[in-house]
């Protein structure tokens, strides 16, 4: 066994976190007396149960009231959480986490048994978690068999060696396994509490967590309040006393309330970043966010004949003026995209993609030539339908693209807006021609994107199937530095064009000038309330 200490990360954390104990002054700034952080939620929280939750906003709350084995620092690097560190076996198939002495909010000790229980709970068919696949993705031994009901949850490759040692056995080596334990699905829950209250266990009053905060109040559709957990192992270094999440569906309304001082953090409505950054330069923030926006081309059986021709797909992709999309329509510092993986993904070197280097004029010329070659022109115009789901942003991009295609290529594009479920159902059934999609990374590594295009991926709706591509991705799993393969994979995508990449996300937020510690450099936009603090005006 080779011990892998997370010393450097721990030191990094020390630098970011001001060491202090009940100090009034941090980095020369006076702390405000009232340490309450209020932010906007787009939608109501669907579940506070780590193994049941499926959405990003729920994860934000869950990260405050529970703590997983590992945490992320402000830049997205890995730091110890409930585990003080871990060791990896020589064959990279066994991970042993050493848990620190910590307590649940009811005073019980946090043990390896809690983790074993919770990980089994995630894949147990009786739990019926929509995120059971996450454990399959982590490659934990027998995860898939448990989900299928072929073996009992006890057969899952996890084990409490003793109260403080949690051991995980993997089916295959996964280089980024440890970083996957920052995900909410892997957070521990307390068996006695879950069994005592049933589905009611997450109600304020019942819920017991091991995070820095406890859920103290929940009013559905209105607000979620969590307050300091005095039992938390690092309570001493936690500054924010109370975090309030207000549900405000309408983004413009949320901005009005931000400007009225009711909330400390909100999202910037699309297209408003330039104006707000001019007006409030210290408050309007744009930072990379790990999602990639694409238009699928249906090259599968149910797709139109035209899109089976790679020249047509290339022409369509080339003719999209991404500069207009990012700089004129979205205007939030988004990245023009010619590849799939978000270019700021940790350890990922943006590969050279041929058409990324051309000017739009060159791309347009090439597009016209390709489409003519494929047999489409003024007398035989290409007719397509673009599906998108109801949203201002999607609508604007779709309108922009329809104009590019119309003006450059003479494509007759029908725009078909659908509510979300119909859009998704059609997309997953392969019942579309061109369809909007966005993929957000599950973890901060490029394979979270690139695995999607393998022929064996469950999410590849384009019908794209390339044996070379599959081989590259399989091989990448065991490589010390998979970047070479990722570059080749991206080049294949540019050559085959199963989708048109359009842009890569940024998070556009407004932060009150008194708020400190927001992880602006975290690609996954992962925040922990205990990293924040508020200073005097």
């Amino acid at each position: 066994m080779r011990t892998k200490l997370l010393l450097s990360a721990a030191i990094g954390a020390m630098l970011v976190f001001p060491t202090f104990s009940n100090a009034e002054v941090i980095n020369g700034e006076q702390l405000a007396a009232d340490q309450v952080f209020t932010y906007r939620l787009l939608d109501d929280i669907k579940s506070f149960d780590p193994q049941i939750n499926t959405d990003i906003e729920g994860s934000g709350v869950i990260r405050d009231i529970f703590e997983g084995l590992m945490n992320e620092d402000q830049k997205g690097g890995l730091i110890p959480g409930a585990a003080s560190g871990y060791t990896v076996s020589e064959d990279k198939l066994t991970y042993t986490f050493n848990l620190r002495d910590a307590k649940w909010s009811n005073g019980d000790p946090v043990t390896a048994h809690d983790f074993a229980y919770s990980w089994k709970r995630l894949v147990d068919p009786k739990t019926a978690s929509e995120y059971a696949w996450y454990m399959e993705l982590m490659g934990v031994k027998n995860a898939s068999q448990v989900v299928k009901g072929e073996v009992t949850p006890d057969e899952l490759g996890v084990r409490a060696v003793d109260d403080n040692t949690f051991e995980v056995t993997l089916e295959k080596a996964i280089p980024y396994f440890a970083s996957m334990t920052v995900h909410g699905s892997t957070f521990p829950v307390l068996q006695s509490v879950v069994e005592k209250h049933g589905t009611d266990w997450t109600k304020p009053g019942n819920i017991v967590g091991n995070g820095a905060y406890v859920l103290s109040e929940y009013r559905s559709g209105e607000k979620v309040v969590r307050e300091r957990n005095p039992m938390y192992w690092d309570n001493e270094n936690t500054i924010i006393d109370k975090t309030v999440a207000l549900v405000i569906n309408d983004e413009n309304q949320a901005l009005t309330r931000y400007l009225a001082g009711e909330i400390d953090k909100t999202n910037i409505p699309s297209g408003q970043y330039p104006r707000l950054s001019k007006e409030y330069p210290k408050q309007a923030i744009s930072n990379p966010y790990s999602c990639s926006y694409i238009y699928w081309f249906n090259m599968g059986e149910k797709g139109p004949e035209s899109l089976k021709d790679v020249r047509v797909r290339k022409a369509l992709s080339y003719a999209i003026n991404r500069e207009v999309v990012t700089d004129r329509i979205l205007q939030g510092g988004q990245y023009q995209s010619y590849n799939f993986a978000h270019q700021k993904t940790a350890g990922f070197d943006l590969p050279e993609i041929d058409y990324a280097g051309w000017t739009q004029k060159e791309r347009d010329a090439k597009a016209v030539a390709l489409l003519a070659e494929a047999g489409y022109g003024a007398d035989n115009p290409l007719e397509l339908t673009l599906n998108y789901n109801t949203s201002e942003t999607h609508k604007k991009v779709a309108i922009g693209v329809s104009q590019f295609w119309k003006q450059t290529l003479g494509v007759k594009l029908t725009l078909a807006n659908n509510e979300w479920k119909i859009h998704t159902t059609k997309q997953q059934a392969g019942d579309f021609e061109v369809s909007r999609y966005a993929w957000c990374g599950d973890y901060n590594e490029a394979s979270t994107y690139l695995d999607l295009l393998t022929s064996y991926s469950g999410h590849n709706v384009s019908g794209y199937s390339n044996a070379d591509y599959d081989a590259l991705m399989v091989e990448s799993k065991t490589m010390a530095n998979p970047n070479a393969n990722y570059a080749k994979a991206e080049a294949l995508l540019a050559a085959d064009m199963p989708f048109a990449p359009i842009y890569q996300y940024t998070g556009n937020i407004m932060l009150q000038p008194t708020l400190r510690g927001w992880p602006v450099d975290n690609l996954m936009q992962t925040f922990y309330s205990r990293d924040l603090y508020i200073v005097e005006k």
Binding site: F48, A260, K421
Partner: protein
């Protein structure tokens, strides 16, 4: 009268059953289900979910189980989307909120609407009529999704008088804007229906006779004209009351009240079948009940009406 009420209550049961079956079939034939998500679930995971929520049963069986649970246990099932909570909880939390702001808005709309309508009718074609009509149209000019953000801009951002949203257990500060946004357009409709109906009644023979006898106008209106003129207004108010107390999407969306209106729309968009059914049944029961109330009021207004 008692006979009528009993007959109608007996009829309510099959009506609700038809509503349940019809809505159930309607919902399940819409594309997508509660677990249709951005990333398609593997068949195994989907099967586990469907087993847990009973969606693996044939549809007729699901309906029977559902009716059985509702009728004999008053259990509307778990929400498919808000998985920590049951439909009973969701309605118990959201309905009192919409009921509160809806009832207040309703009372406000009826009082101002009827007063404006009566005033306009009495002073028909005078400047008071024009003023009342002007106010009532003016109230309808701004659709509530335009009015709601304007209210917040003015009262929260510019004046700082009222909080921009939330409910806080019905603190009056939080109720004012939802009530304003909800009541205005209904107020305008009530005013216009009242005016038109009043005009019609005041031209009827017996009112003309009363007038020609020189009875004081106020007396005529209160004693003879107002009651019959209320007939169409009451027809309108029955369903309107149900609409208002079961919540407005716009109000819930812009003012984050946590009310049931937004739940209803979200349940439909999320295919949260059980929440959808629960709220549909509630709306159905209220509709039937208040239409019965309307019919009883008819008989009170015009004793000649036989139902």
């Amino acid at each position: 009268m008692l006979n009528l009420i009993l007959k109608r209550l007996a009829m309510a049961v099959p009506t609700i059953l038809v509503l349940i079956v019809f809505s159930f079939l309607l919902m399940h034939s819409a594309p997508g289900g509660p677990f249709t998500a951005e990333r398609a679930l593997s068949p195994e995971i989907l099967a586990n979910l469907e087993a847990k929520y009973g969606l693996d049963q044939p549809l007729y069986k699901q309906i029977l189980i559902y009716i059985n649970n509702v009728v004999f246990h008053f259990d509307f099932g778990p929400s498919f989307i808000y998985k920590d909570r049951s439909v009973n909880e969701i309605i118990a939390q959201g309905f009192p909120i919409t009921l509160t702001y809806g009832s207040i808005a309703f009372v406000l709309a009826v009082i101002t609407g009827v007063s404006l309508g009566v005033m306009a009718a009495i002073y028909h074609n005078s400047w008071l009529d024009y003023l009342a009509v002007g106010i009532s149209i003016g109230a309808q000019v701004l659709p509530n999704f335009v009015m709601a953000p304007i209210l917040v801009l003015v009262f929260t951002l510019m004046l700082g008088w009222l909080p921009g949203g939330g409910w806080e257990y019905g603190d009056p500060k939080y109720i004012i804007m939802p009530v304003l946004a909800l009541s205005t357009s209904f107020m305008a409709s009530i005013a216009r229906i009242t005016r038109s109906s009043m005009l019609e009644v005041m031209n009827a023979n017996h009112i003309r006779t009363a007038r020609s006898k020189g009875l004081p106008v106020r007396h005529i209106i209160l004693r003879h004209a107002l009651k019959p003129a209320m007939l169409p207004v009451i027809s309108y108010l029955g369903p309107t009351f149900v609409t208002m107390v079961t919540g407005s999407v716009v109000v819930d969306l812009f003012f984050s009240t946590g009310g049931m209106g937004l739940f209803f729309v979200n349940a439909a968009l999320n295919r949260d079948y059980s929440v959808m059914m629960g709220i549909t049944i509630l709306v159905g029961v209220l509709t039937i009940f208040f239409n019965l109330v309307v019919d009883i009021l008819y008989a009170w207004i015009d004793p000649k009406i036989r139902l």
